[in-house]
């Protein structure tokens, strides 16, 4: 353990933040292209064309897609055969996010909730948001990073329904929430939905859902069907790109599920904007780093 060079983790934390902000994942690009192909409204098509030009410029100039560089979120999966020190990894993620902000440099959006003082580092008490998970039969450290801007995050909503409300209530809640959010989360993006769990877990599930590659269906066929149904329903509203009207109001609905209490029926929505930004680094025990999405 003492031989592993943790500067590699810090560098990966920095690089994934920057990569996520500048380089949109291929699945998101494909989903946007497909959406454009089926969009019939001229004003909505103009929105897509501006989106494509934005992506092109960001690729060419290695620059930020959107000015809201958000709050950093890291989902870390530690392989059972990876030699690790959790406290060191946590520190590296903090330092990496901070260095990305100061060295790129880009705007820091983190702030004290009462004094509203911004430390100019994108981190602070409780930030970055970090989730640790573990994987059997793996020797790697897998870091998935997503910066979350406020336009979409501000539209998050959760509700504890009762079992008597049934699945119906969950579907209606998702649809009503999306209609309410309108143009604010820069649609068309991903609608992340959590069902089940506890009050905190259900929102975490919704966040997991937006971090999944666009259009990847849930392995449970019943949940996958619900994703399709909700997608169709949301698109049928005609709210369109940027809420200005059109055929495409969302790229995809993703649902994540956990078991819940016999007397509970929780649901949460976490929206993601069209720049559904994320980046990944997979680190091997010899210090090799593979970047991806």
């Amino acid at each position: 353990m003492k031989d592993f060079d943790y500067r590699i983790v810090e560098e990966a934390a920095k690089q994934t933040y920057i990569r996520a902000l500048c380089d949109l994942p291929p699945d998101v690009r494909i989903a946007l292209k497909k959406a454009y192909d089926r969009e019939t409204k001229p004003t909505a098509r103009a929105v897509f064309e501006a989106i494509f030009r934005t992506i092109e410029i960001a690729d060419r100039d290695k620059t930020l897609i959107c000015q809201d560089t958000g709050l950093p979120i890291y989902k870390v999966k530690i392989g059972s055969m990876f030699p690790w020190n959790g406290a060191r990894i946590k520190k590296c993620l903090y330092e990496g996010a901070k260095r990305a902000t100061l060295e790129f440099p880009f705007r820091s959006s983190s702030t004290h909730p009462l004094t509203r003082v911004n430390p100019q580092t994108s981190v602070g008490v409780g930030l970055p948001v970090i989730y640790f998970d573990f994987e059997e039969d793996s020797d790697s450290l897998d870091i998935l990073m997503a910066p979350k801007g406020s336009g979409s995050e501000n539209m998050s909503k959760m509700q504890m329904f009762y079992p008597a409300h049934g699945v119906k209530a969950l579907k209606k809640f998702v649809l009503d929430t999306v209609i309410e959010t309108g143009a604010n989360p820069c649609p068309p993006g991903i609608i992340g939905v959590g069902i089940g769990g506890t009050a905190d877990l259900v929102m975490k599930l919704a966040k997991d859902a937006i971090m999944r590659p666009v259009g990847q269906r849930h392995p449970d066929p019943e949940i996958a069907r619900m994703e399709e149904e909700l997608e169709e329903a949301i698109n049928a509203t005609g709210r369109g790109p940027m809420g200005l009207g059109g055929d495409v109001s969302t790229l995809a609905v993703h649902i994540e599920m956990a078991y819940t209490h016999i007397t509970q029926n929780p649901v949460a929505v976490n929206t993601q904007c069209w720049p559904a930004r994320r980046a990944r680094a997979v680190i091997s025990p010899d210090g090799g780093v593979q970047y991806g999405y």
């Binding site: 934005t54 410029i57 209606k172 649809l175 604010n184």
Partner: protein, 195 residues
Amino acid sequence: MAEYHLKSPFSEEDIRKLKAGDIVYFDGLLFGIRDLTQIYMFDQNHEPPVSLAGAACIHTAPSLRKVGDKWEKICVGTTTSTRMERFTPELISRYGVRAIIGKGGLYQGSLDAMKKYGAVYLAIVGGSAALETQQIEEVEAVYWEHLHPEALYQFRVKNFGPLTVAMDSHGRNLYEEVKAEALKRLPEIYEKLGV
């Protein structure tokens, strides 16, 4: 849907011909404003040091860098407009601003002022900061520097857009129309979803 290529500052005639759903690109002056800029103007009674007559104002907190005396752009994006509703009618009536650029739209008070004085709300594609930044040719001036990144910015832009006329000077609000249409379709959508 018509497409217009305009020059700012705008005349009343330029603006009156725009209809909700049209697409606009423009060259010329663009002012950057935000919450704090307008709190400073309207709540703390500071007169802008530059004329805003006929101007286009965008809701932004830009990332800039100061090199010597000159400001250079790093990343300029657009923020949600609804927070700025309180100031907008006066921005239009008192200073003659003719175009507000932002995302998410404004409310009835602004729409009424737009109708009365001849102004529009132009929706930009949110999240497209890379494109916006490229279309800004120069940061010509930053007024009230102590308020940065929510000061008053004077940009020169080229082919700035596409912008959708989302609220026009004839009382139409595209956001409201699209929302009303969605609510009209809702019973049918609920039925199909089985809720």
